[in-house]
């Protein structure tokens, strides 16, 4: 079974308490339709598991099949620079057909970001390095495509359906003594 490598650390985009019983990591691509379909499931899991779940997102942009994936990943990072990574993350998944450069700027504006700063940081070297590190970690961890999920560090091989994912998360939570 594939194991997450490197494990979740301070460099990751994380939401949820550090002492949560379950950590869910997603390797995702903002233009991937299956990631888009998974997004509400993850949202529901965050709501349903509350403080028992910590969620981390890592970039896995598939540039060859999704022409806007890399730019979207950079946009999320640029928004993160202004403290709104998760807002941009959610917005991009909800509006997967609006990922052109113009759309990304519009998203930034509507999220209340400093658009000039956002535009300037889109091409930042640091974001590219970070995305490349995420891609390397996907390869190292054995992520086969997008979306790939890791639950408490273990690759999740089950179906990407709400019931199955929730059951796997619950099993992982129960395996941890509180």
């Amino acid at each position: 079974m594939s194991t997450l490598s490197p494990p979740v650390s301070e460099r990751d985009h994380v939401v949820g308490p550090a002492d949560a019983r379950v950590t869910l990591v997603e390797y995702g691509d903002f233009e991937c339709p299956f990631c888009g379909a998974l997004h509400p499931v993850v949202q529901a899991a965050r709501k349903s598991f509350g403080g028992n779940l910590r969620f981390a997102f890592r970039h896995f942009p598939l540039r060859s099949s999704h022409p806007h994936a890399l730019a979207s990943a950079k946009a999320a990072e640029a928004a993160g620079e202004q403290g709104k990574f998760w807002e941009m993350h959610d917005r991009l998944y909800r509006r997967q057909t609006e990922l052109t450069d113009t759309d990304l700027e519009r998203h930034a504006r509507e999220l209340g970001l400093d658009v000039d700063r956002f535009r300037g940081s889109l091409g930042a070297r640091a974001h590219e390095v970070r995305i490349r590190e995420d891609l390397a970690s996907a390869s190292q961890s054995g992520a086969k495509g997008t979306p790939s999920l890791f639950i408490n560090g273990e690759f999740y091989e089950g179906p990407l359906e709400r019931e199955a994912i929730f059951a796997a998360l619950a099993r992982a939570a129960l395996a941890v003594v509180p």
């Binding site: 379909a37 709501k47 028992n52 129960l174």
Partner: protein, 331 residues
Amino acid sequence: MAQHRMSSEAAQTAAREIGRLTILRLTVYYVMAGILIMCLSALLPLGSIGPIPAEPPADMQGAIEWFKGQVAMFPKGAPVWLDALFQMIAAFLLVLPLAFVYVRTRTRLKFDHSLIQTVIVLPIVVTAILVVVRDSLALAFSLAGIVAAVRFRNTLKESGDAVYIFGSIGIGFASGIHAISVAGVLSVGFVVVELALWKFDFSAEFERTFARLCMPSGADMADVPGYRGEPEPTPAGNGAGQAHPDRDGAGRSALLRIYVDQVDAARPKIEAVLERDAKHWTLEQIVAGTGNTPELTYRVRARKSVGLDALREHLLRDAAPHVVAADAPES
């Protein structure tokens, strides 16, 4: 006032395992059913209709009679009601394993209680109809007219459920034309194939790999040292299953699936919260089987002053550590 009612309890195993006991039971059942059918047929003076020629005759009527002689055993001189009773008993005995396999292979959410009754009763009815119609073209047309007048429309939960309906009709049809052997083969074949498909979860792996993932190509991973993945074609698909906007379910009933560590320990704590925060609540289901994550499913109507989201938070907080998640699958 809160309503306390448990409508059903289920214990299921998550693993797709067909135990030896299941196979043994099915085998014993088929042997017993076969013996019973043979005993019943021995009571009735059954037999082929006259000598059967080796080749079918050229004329249509002759060919039909030849076919019937090949597959069917007809009563000689038995009253029609006794004949019908025998065929219906045979249909009933042969369809029961289908109902068993349905129960065995369905998950809790895909389980359709009414379908089991339909699968059991349908072949009996089909057999009776065919006994009545027999070779009468006029009766067959009358039946078609009646069927056309009555609209049978029902949405099945699963597309696979339709196979059980067809299997059931097939057994009823075969029994109705006195082809019990064909009904038997259909019943056994159906059970074996269904159990095998379920056991090996046929095509699930391909679904996971090809239908649910966007696969990286070499170009995506060009910069990644050590990547050894094979380039894969991008699957078709448009990401069905979009999100419903989150809703706070206050004021209407909602299904609440609660994942717990131990049912007995969690239930009093959960129900104390529901008693406080819900206007009405009903326990719908308990899953506590070996290998499964214990689950309690409630139908809940949150108090307007609380709301469903807050109720879920209260469950996580007040019933901790027994409750690990409170999902509202309909939201």
